[in-house]
Amino acid sequence: MHKHDLGQAARKFAKVCEILEKYDYKSDKLVPILQAVQEEYRYLPEDVLAFIATTIDISPARIYGVATFYSHFALEPKGKYVVRVCDGTACHVKGSNPLLSEIRNRLNLPKGKTTTPDLLFTLETVSCLGACGIAPVVVVNEEVHPLMIPGKTTKMIDEIMEKERVCDEQFA
């Protein structure tokens, strides 16, 4: 490897090293380590996982096993806005399915895909957010939207798209 590449690699993994340092390179802290990595990159890149495995001396297979077991971890990049439709019992009986299909239509997501090609949105369901008193609930990143009805969700997505469009124009 050229010296130049090494420097780049070190920069790339600098943040990961910080995280590993924080958790004392302990393999039993794997779940919080991966959480911190995902927070940083918005997903778990393959080379980062391999780097962690070598550094804390566990097999890449074990990391892969853990990363695929928990639904929170993503092996592919997630969108800037993660839209999570709660499909807990209370939200389900109060109509979360129509909300899901409405958002899916608005984002033009083909079957089997959860992230839009421009990496702006990821659409997921979550089993319960514990906000059943205000069901049905949709969460965008950390922001909870209570008592959603079809129509309101489209408006919500449109507002985000508009905000992003304005941002882009300012940049351009």
Partner: protein, 631 residues
């Protein structure tokens, strides 16, 4: 010699400072009210009071007199009426407060102690306004013990918790009681695990107490994964110190020096509050190397889950803390013998731990005075679904479903949310591991054992009320889909069995079932219950088995007559043209992919049932709503 921590001094100091406050404004800052805009209300109070020159502080002051205090609280349980604002000492209780209401509240209530009539809760039947929480049936009919301080105190202020007698029980346990006494007291109280199983907590503790080991652990299971349940979230958000106090007592009881709180990451607010509570308790010396000034050590780590329902199972939870895939292990050995990192460990649910301080403080006998003989104490339930008042409630064991749904919940609603006195169909209790109860069970006193005897379980305490428009097969399918998704895949009965049960249920809703389907479903369910490794699999068939028991007729109608009485299974519905509405425009004829619709122009059309594939394209196409979903 160490000097003991003086809780009394903190308590008196707080109470003295609190005397100088004229009125206290409490804004509910639970997940529900936050989502409805509680933060905006709080900011508006600060902004408007400054403009008006009204003295409002956000924390207790040492020197000042005659000012008003503004604080947040944990979940008050009445989420659907949020944001909630309470003004003390009058206890005036406002619902659905908007930022533009704030100045009126300041003028009328904060300055003059008078209620603002239009912001009070109005009884949905009587229409009468209720001035305080205690005037509202939703609160009046409850017995709030665990939730007593949730919604009153500021969860982010440890001193307020102490001012109400908090940490006295833990101090007593650490400094005055032997470990065996603590375990016996809990055993005598009859406290049973609130996480679902109902195992006697004292027995669990005694098992771990007996073990001799240099290291033991206490784990608080806050991985509340049951969809439709949010009791643990509310306790952690509203009174996190009660959970920590319970953990300290548990640690003293078994001789542990390290603890974990395992919280779902779907509960960011609960995570933040419990972390803050641990920090504050450590600062005061209630946690750390010398707890309460003794030589005993107890530290707590907060760990966030990563979205796996099965981690609510104790052995899976421990695997997850150890940095592995969260898969369960066979028992024995029980965690009390060989748990986290192979050391003796007790795992208790949030609500169980929050019940502990009260027992140590007031004694086992007092605890037993509420509830039933086999299930003493109170239980929190998350009341949701088609019911007028949804929210978090707490009642003594032995309360009937009728009291919960009709007195506290205010009755059943139709799909639009209006009261429907005849609407009750079923209530789902215990989430994906529980079962459905029907009208015949409305007067059954709720307890761990009474529910098991009818094939359901209390589970963690989710109560989802369903009205008569709910299709029970769809409900069973929903839960089966959930457990199928969440099955960890370690044991075959659960991994493959739930998949088969789900596809059999799909056969029923798609109209592909025959007379054998129900029998296969029943036998498969029993086999999964018997053969699965952990609680997830052992209870996964419950929703389906209770459906087969209590809603046999409805499910048979699906299979034999290919009909869904609640009109929710699309594949069993043949669209019908409503002749009076149809103008014969021919649009549906064009849209029908199989040519099943015919008719003369300007004459009502008709659908050929034999050809119809029930795709619904005609219903969508019709501009006059002249095609109904059918029968």
């Amino acid at each position: 010699m160490n000097s003991l921590l003086d809780l009394n001094a903190i308590k008196t100091d707080y109470q003295n400072r609190a005397k100088n406050v004229t009125r206290r404004i409490i804004i509910c800052a639970g997940t529900g009210c936050m989502a409805s805009g509680a933060l905006k209300i709080s900011n508006e109070f600060k902004r408007v009071s400054t403009l008006m020159g009204v003295h409002i502080e956000t924390e207790l002051k040492k020197e000042e007199n005659n000012y008003n205090l503004l604080t947040g609280s944990g979940c008050q349980g009445f989420c659907q009426m949020g944001p909630l604002v309470t003004i003390e000492p009058e206890g005036i209780f406002y619902v659905k407060v908007k930022p533009e209401d704030v100045s009126e509240i300041i003028i009328e209530t904060v300055l003059n102690g008078k209620p603002v009539e239009r912001l009070l809760y109005k009884g949905n039947i009587s229409g009468k306004s209720c001035k305080t929480q205690q005037d509202i049936n939703f609160y009046k009919k409850q017995t709030r013990k665990i939730l007593a301080d949730c919604g009153n105190i500021n969860p982010e202020d440890i001193e307020e918790y102490i001012s109400r007698g908090g940490y006295e029980a833990a101090q007593k346990a650490v400094t005055e009681m032997t470990s065996i006494d603590i375990c016996r007291e809990i055993l005598n109280s009859g406290l049973r695990g609130r996480g679902g199983g109902g195992f006697p907590t004292g027995r669990k503790w005694l098992l771990a107490q007996k073990e001799t080991n240099d290291k033991k652990y206490v784990i608080c299971n806050a991985d509340e994964g049951d969809p439709g349940a949010f009791m643990d979230r509310s306790v952690m958000e509203g009174n996190p110190h009660s959970v920590i106090e319970g953990m300290i007592i548990a640690a003293s009881g078994i001789g542990a020096d390290e603890g974990y709180v395992y919280v779902r990451l779907e509960y960011p607010l609960a995570v933040r509050r419990i972390k803050k509570a641990v920090e504050e308790a450590t600062k005061l010396g209630i946690l750390g190397d010398k707890i309460f000034g003794t030589d005993k050590r107890f530290t707590i780590h907060v760990m966030e889950g990563a979205g796996a329902f099965v981690c609510g199972e104790e052995t899976a939870l421990m695997a997850s803390i150890e940095g592995k895939r969260g898969m369960p292990n066979p028992k024995p050995p029980f965690p009390a013998q060989s748990g986290l990192f192979g050391k003796p460990t007790i795992i208790n649910n949030v609500e169980t731990l929050a019940s502990v301080p009260g027992i140590i403080k007031n004694g086992a006998a007092e605890y037993r005075s509420i509830g039933t003989k086999e299930s003493p104490g109170t239980k929190t339930f998350a009341l949701t679904g088609h019911v007028v008042n949804t929210g978090l409630i707490e009642v003594p064991f032995g309360t009937t479903l009728r009291e919960i749904i009709f007195d506290i919940g205010g009755g059943v609603t139709d799909d639009e949310g209006n009261l429907d006195p005849e609407g009750f169909k079923a209530v789902q209790i215990g989430g994906p591991s529980g079962g459905c109860l029907t009208a015949e069970h409305l007067d059954l006193p709720l307890s761990f054992d009474s529910l098991i005897s009818i094939g359901a379980m209390i589970g963690s305490g989710g109560l989802v009320v369903m009205n008569k428009n709910t299709c029970m097969v769809q409900v069973a399918k929903f839960f089966m889909q959930f457990t199928q998704n969440e099955s960890c895949g370690k044991c075959v009965p659960c991994r493959e069995g739930t998949k088969q049960m789900l596809s059999l249920l799909e056969d029923i809703t798609e109209g592909d079932a025959d007379e054998h389907t129900l029998e296969i479903l029943f036998n498969l369910g029993l086999a999964i219950k018997k053969a699965s490794l952990c609680g997830l699999g052992k209870t996964a068939p419950n929703p389906v088995l209770s459906l087969l028991g209590y809603f046999r007729e409805e499910i048979e109608t699906h299979v034999m007559q290919q009909r869904c009485p609640a009109k929710k299974c699309k594949s069993l519905l043949t669209p019908v043209v409503i002749e009076e509405k149809c103008k014969g425009c021919g649009l549906c004829i064009k849209k029908c992919p199989v040519g099943a619709i015919a008719g003369e122009k300007k004459q009502p059309h008709y659908i050929n049932e034999a050809l119809c594939i029930k795709c619904g394209a005609c219903i969508e196409a019709c501009r006059l709503d002249a095609i109904s979903e059918g029968v």
